[in-house]
Symmetry: C2
Subunit: 495 residues, 2 copies
């Protein structure tokens, strides 16, 4: 049986061999070709992706050079720190200490001065606190003998690390000391695991402190004196730009509705019309800028402790106004069109309300931009209110328009009604978009009043001075140009 | 002249002395008392502040225990790492290496699993890349002689640090590799300033790598297996909760308008009415959750690469709907009140539109919650559309209401008009809030259709299965309870 099996296996084996070789031989050139083609496609694909990436990077850098400048500032700070330690080999040469300075620079340097200062101060405070606490706990633990030392250190580490991490969620800590809490945990853990000798303690502390100070100083100097980007200035620019956008959107939407909805015009001015969308989504950035701005020293025309939080309030009121413009934009694009006759009748007064409203917003923009109390704002608000009143009066007079004029001859009353319905009376359905527009315009005007009071509060807290007439006209164009140049491109990105 | 001056000075000096002492002596007891009082006030103040702070912390911890749990997880991870190095003194004992593991834990550990994974993977990738590149540049620089070494290293550091920092602003890098870019800069700078010997290079690399892996592993394990908070689950919960809130707000607003505006009822259900405000401000958190969720492995009912970005789209459509509810809420609170007769006439149909609309949103909520395609959504949408049609028809029938019924006797036409105006015809002004409400309801219904198509797209991409009837009813209550428990408290904070 065995030889038979052997023979059978041999046979089988021989068959399999020929089988395999035939299978392998036939498509042998296929895979290699495929592989080569695949590699070629991969290389071309990678090359295309890379060139695409570089193109995008170049576009970004040219549209907002400040981002490229920030990159170079970080490079400069790091090179400065490392050269400082190359040239002056302090203490134990280029080693552990230089590392801390470099780490400080990498972790602390931010694009915005306020953010850098916030991190620097948090880091210094937290390092000092955690260092002192850590050393204290360490000494305490050492006195309780070898056995309990690790236990005590472990428990202390757990308690302090948990507590500090949890404290980051408490709103008052979160807005000012979140980074400090992280640094506290880091420093405390490092001190608690390091096995230092008490006699070398002060040397160590002094070295660590000096390196952190070197790193921090270089960061602060470069961040503040080479093309600085101030959070306060950014917040201020965002608010004033958004005011312009809001005003232009409002004007544009209403004008577009009454001018007849030509596709061409709409597309041309799409950017202006949709400017309010920036206001809708600016909450997070405004709040973080206000948080950073509080760490910044006096700069430009802002003193230390300028009431930045009030700008956030102004921004919130603007957003509430932008919601209404969103709804307005929606109802303008709805399918129901009001009859032209009715549109014409209300067109002038609606345009007046919208231009008066946007005039108020623009004036508020000037108040915030020039930081001078406006002499004309009360007048403009009064004008806006009276336009709203006129609009309401005009609408009140509408029933006489809807009710058919009584015919001179007295015919069959039934006939009269039919005729009136078919020719004279616009259905309420047709009137709805127009009436919604007016209703939203009235609501927008009342929300603009809330922006006015927020800005007036800002003017009081920040002690804006009353404006003298010739100054406003002189200042306005300059500020406008500077503002627009700064923000125009970023806005494009955001929209 | 000199002695005279001397004398004069002496005299002056004496006078000043007496002057000063008299000034100091008179209120001497005052300042001490004041000081003591001040110190007392300070201590009491500090104590009050501290107790207030602790109270707030306690409230936060009890309202959202997950935050306290996160704190403890960080404590646990740090203690674990430090004990690991205490117990097994690897390589050169507890020293430089343990430091890197601790640092990794502190920097990488986040409350959300996706964020931890994102940071871990970024850190490992960036460390590896920067390390290899740094060593390469170092070796190259060493070959060009002592003189040029520092120069080459400095230039390389500047170029790579600038480039990597700038790359953080490029959108595609920002959303996935921002943290990696920071780590790259850090590692590259550390390698370029360290003065290593080539023969020890691989030892060093191996040690550094092993410590980072230990730190990273501990982070990932603790983050994923002890009370994990998944970004995907959070995003999913936010979206489904927001759908409920949107539906309730819409229902509540319309119901409140037609039920008559009693102050008591309004205040009681204020929370429900203003639920839509959560939707207005959830953009940033939804986007960051979606970014983190893509790093997460399969968890719960979500597989790896679940289409998280589609949830963001659904969220955006919901926000566009919330803007309209904002405007609706504004126009409901406006001063013009529609006459009761007119309100009553439209009340039923408006309530029907709103309840149908909110029904659609609630059904969408169930679709997303159960991850099953709904069998009734098409029917519900049809119902909503037909209710909108009915509303439009009802409004179209309104002119007959406004136009006075022709009087039976034919009197003076002038008289008829006056009478009609004063008694029968509600002025358009009075009708405006009601008409705006209907118009916004119609707009909201059309925006809800956009949410429907976004959810349907999600159901297609994520391959939701059709629902079987008994399953829905079984699953619904469970999910609801779990969802509500998770998010209810956080919502309270946010509102």
């Amino acid at each position: 049986m065995a030889p038979e099996q052997e023979a059978a296996r041999g046979w089988e084996w021989r068959i399999r061999v020929s089988d395999v070789s035939s299978k392998v031989l036939a498509p042998k050139e296929g895979p290699i070709c495929k592989l080569l083609l695949g590699v070629k496609a991969l290389i071309v694909g990678l090359f295309l992706k890379l060139s695409n990436f570089l193109k995008k990077a170049w576009e970004l850098a040219s549209s907002d050079p400040r981002k490229a400048v920030h990159g170079m500032k970080v490079g400069l700070a790091l090179t400065a720190v490392s050269l400082f330690y190359y040239i002056r080999p302090l203490y134990d040469g280029v080693g552990g200490n230089a590392m801390w300075a470099v780490m400080t620079v990498v972790v602390v340097f931010e694009g915005i001065v306020g953010a850098t200062l916030y991190k620097c101060l948090n880091r210094m405070l937290a390092t000092f606190l955690a260092g002192a606490l850590g050393v204290g706990v360490h000494l305490l633990a050492k006195q309780s003998g070898e056995k309990f030392e690790h236990l005590i250190m472990g428990v202390a580490l757990f308690i302090f690390a948990s507590g500090a991490t949890f404290s980051r969620f408490i709103p008052s800590v979160k807005s000012r000391f979140e980074y400090g809490a992280t640094t506290f945990v880091l420093t405390f853990s490092l001190v608690s695991i390091s096995d230092f000798r008490v006699d070398k303690l002060f040397d160590l502390a002094q070295q660590r402190l000096s390196t952190i100070i070197v790193g921090t100083l270089i960061c602060i100097l470069i961040s503040m004196f080479i093309c600085p980007i101030w959070a306060g200035q950014e917040l201020y620019t965002t608010i004033t730009n958004n005011m312009d956008k809001l005003a232009n959107s409002l004007d544009g939407c209403v004008a577009e509705y009454f001018s007849g909805n030509e596709e061409g015009t709409r597309k041309g001015s799409e950017k202006t019309l949709l400017g309010y969308k920036c206001v809708l989504s600016s909450k997070a950035s405004e709040e973080s800028m206000a948080n950073f701005a509080r760490w910044e020293p006096a700069h430009g025309r802002f003193h230390f402790r300028h009431p930045w939080q009030q700008y956030v309030k102004v921004g919130a009121e603007m957003r509430s106004c932008a919601y209404c413009i969103e709804a307005l934009n929606g109802c303008i694009n709805s399918e129901n069109k009001a009859p032209d006759r009715l549109k014409k009748r209300l067109s002038n007064i609606c345009l007046e309300v919208s231009s008066n409203s946007s005039g108020v917003i623009k004036e508020l923009g000037i108040v915030v931009t020039t930081m001078k109390k406006s002499s004309s704002i009360d007048f403009l608000v009064k004008q806006m209110k009276s336009a709203v009143q006129d609009l309401q009066t005009d609408i009140k007079s509408l029933p006489s328009l809807i009710i058919p004029q009584p015919l001179p001859e007295t015919g069959n009353p039934q006939d009269k009604k039919t005729e009136a319905n078919s020719t004279e009376v616009p259905s309420v359905m047709e009137m709805i978009p127009l009436l919604t527009l007016t209703s939203l315009l009235i609501e927008i005007a009342s929300r603009i009043e809330r922006i006015v009071s927020a800005v007036e509060e800002l003017a009081d807290i920040a002690q804006f001075q009353p404006v003298t007439d010739e100054k406003t006209t002189e200042l306005k164009p300059d500020y406008k140009i500077a503002k627009d140049q700064n923000k125009e491109d970023e806005t494009l990105q955001r929209v």
